[in-house]
Symmetry: C2
Subunit: 218 residues, 2 copies
Amino acid sequence: MLSFTEENYLKAIYHLSEAGTLPVLTNDLADSMKTKAASATDMVKKLAAKKLISYQKYYGANLTSKGKSDALMVIRKHRLWETFLVEKLGFTWDEVHEVAEQLEHIQSMTLIEKLDSFLGFPKTDPHGHPIPDALGKIKEMKQVHLSEFPVRKKCVVRAVKNGSPSFLQYLSKIGIRIGVMLNIVDKIDFDGSLEISIDHKKKIFISKEAAENLLVTE
Amino acid sequence: MLSFTEENYLKAIYHLSEAGTLPVLTNDLADSMKTKAASATDMVKKLAAKKLISYQKYYGANLTSKGKSDALMVIRKHRLWETFLVEKLGFTWDEVHEVAEQLEHIQSMTLIEKLDSFLGFPKTDPHGHPIPDALGKIKEMKQVHLSEFPVRKKCVVRAVKNGSPSFLQYLSKIGIRIGVMLNIVDKIDFDGSLEISIDHKKKIFISKEAAENLLVTE
DNA sequence: TTAATAATTTAGACTAACCTAAAAAATGTT
DNA sequence: AACATTTTTTAGGTTAGTCTAAATTATTAA
Ligand SMILES: [Mn+2]
Ligand SMILES: [Mn+2]
Ligand SMILES: [Mn+2]
Ligand SMILES: [Mn+2]
């Protein structure tokens, strides 16, 4: 059985290999875990000994298929709990991540399957992120960053990329939620900021950085 | 902030001082924590340094008022989660304890208050045990062991004393649940076993030990 | 009231996860 | 190709929680 820490490292390696390039480098892993490179080295050695990653000195780490499915199970739990907190307990989407970081480590298959059923087998979490199924299969969605979307063509917000509380609170404040319809009215060359309309109603300017953290589809 | 282990020790000290005589002795604490006396000694020293218990060498430990309220908060969480598992997720009463042992350590006051509200502010958990309120106040119930109850006088099952899965499964099998009406038809002098009727219907014999672990009221 | 027994504490050691500082390897630059 | 810089690993140490074995204190019995 894995410790909380081992589970957190596996999840971090998964997310880093999703985002960046393979293999996952020690310094990136240490940053992501808010720890030091020496500690990350200790842990990758341990995970490699458990065959959850393949690891070569000075080269980096890659999840094995066992490691990947363990990581996906932690992510499944995290996202199901976030969904529970929002849908059933009335948390807002900016409050749930921290609590889910703890709940994702509860050890009980029965619990997570019953929770999934209680929630009606949701496909995505409150941030629009896909929830892996009981077998660890995750449905990749072909979404594009709002910053790359064409001007004057309506799109729907599907997910946030950066899920930090401050970004989520900002989105709530300006009326952007999952499912909302956007339209890029104008793109400002100077700084890459966008003038957008939200649900055909109010127009507002958002920064390039904000637009890069919104995932949309047609 | 307390570690999982510290919380578990505090809870054990609370339950031992509830059940037995004060102060709580090292060996009893070690047994209850399924560890060794030397480890229990280490921990009582630490808890005493944190002013959660008073402790004198060779004498034993008593909770301070801070220690008691911390213990009661863990118990509140444990019992609310057990209630959630049974009421909302469809667990049976013999399955929930182990999972609640993990869930009781999740750190979030907001979470537990929202959970309480979601459950409709339950007063007791699935085993009939009282749930401390948000201030740590616990409502003591004047219940009596079925083994001490008079013959041929109807009573209602309010709680189980021993909550082990095997006892709970046995109770389910013979149709004893919280709220069921019992009547002692006969008391067997030989071994203290009881012949009882359940809900005015079927009659059955139960052992003295079983009767000592059922709490009833008139 | 002394001796035997039981309970408790101390001593010393282990593991997981972390740290800092130093050494080694890889990478970049002239 | 040689040197400088960055990245990564190793060495050695810390803390929380555990253990076994030995020492100490308390309790019971002769
Ligand atoms: Mn999250
Ligand atoms: Mn999420
Ligand atoms: Mn329980
Ligand atoms: Mn209970």
